[in-house]
Symmetry: C2
């Protein structure tokens, strides 16, 4: 697997919400998963599980639940109703695009899960791995986005995928080739979000 | 700043609990913070704050609270009592070492914080940034460890650092030069933690 510059990849990572249906190679998927499980986690208990969804039928069902969940979250009846809203943010427009097409593309979705009881703070033991996944993918030219909106359909997702009740489904990460080019992320200046020795502002 | 290989750094990252008191340069700290804030976060609201603790007095106080919290968690009266336990795990022994010395080394601690109300799932909006921080540091030869045990002293930490009640203190990350060399992390095989299309096992 070719190398990639850590700071270049980390500094340019973007959330991708427009994907092509171009396949993700087994080799790339394996490399990404190998990096995912190197992440730190509470007590190295590795109480995580990664569900890799490739079956078109399963992905279509997830896509359907995802769209329902997004519409519930934004209190809308249809995607078009959301898109017609004046002053709609780009993120929301992109989220609607993702929700509409998730059943078709990208060709892979990863559901990152963690045992609820295995660690004192589940989030601290799964999201570092999720970030590794996204960075490893980006280094290979593959896009991802960390999504949680489908939790409005947590029960239906659980039933669809057979996920036991003692497992927290933490993030669904679509994974595939971006359908367009992405510039660097927009962020506030460091000095806006860093304080020294004591909270300020 | 020199380059570093993404997969090499990600694949070798270890939790460091033995630090030297060798200084961390301003340039390195800045590079690490620049990378930290590139992480994805809910709605790009960047509802995070990073407290960089360098004042020896502040670090000493945090170290004191940290040790108290660890002893509470493992139900022990003194560090020596913990170390004398038969069958003590290496992680716990290392945690005691960290807790005992945190007030002196490393020369930097970062407290990663997130607004409780700004995002639907605070963990998903702060731990990717924490992972970026740890990877960026490791790429520069600097060690870190994601700690949460001090939460047993959440109120005291909050008072010490002036952190408002609507802010979640998510992770305290000691940052500095490792006092020893670390081999690659030990992890279960991918096939133990990955399922395809449906939960299994």
């Amino acid at each position: 697997m070719a190398g990639a510059d850590l700071y270049g990849v980390m500094g340019s990572l973007r959330s991708v919400r427009e994907f092509s249906d171009r396949p993700v190679s087994d080799e790339a998927l394996r490399q990404i998963l190998e990096m995912t499980i190197r992440a730190p986690n509470g007590g190295n208990s590795q109480s995580w599980r990664f569900l890799v969804l490739r079956d078109p039928k399963v992905r279509r069902e997830v896509g359907r639940l995802y769209l329902e969940a997004l519409l519930q979250q934004v209190e809308a009846a249809t995607p078009d109703e959301v898109l017609a809203r004046p002053g709609i943010t780009r993120t929301l427009r992109d989220a609607v695009h993702l929700a509409r097409h998730l059943g078709e593309a990208p060709p892979v979705q990863v559901l990152a899960c963690i045992e609820k009881s295995g660690v004192s703070d589940p989030g601290s033991s799964i999201f570092p791995a999720v970030q590794n996944l996204m960075l490893a993918a980006w280094g290979l030219g593959l896009g991802t986005v960390l999504t949680t909106v489908w939790r409005h359909r947590d029960e239906e997702m659980r039933a669809l995928l057979g996920v036991p009740d003692d497992i927290e489904m933490a993030a669904l990460i679509p994974l595939g080739h971006p359908a367009k080019a992405y510039g660097p992320p927009k962020r506030r200046a460091i000095d806006d979000v860093v304080s020294y020795d004591r909270w300020s502002g």
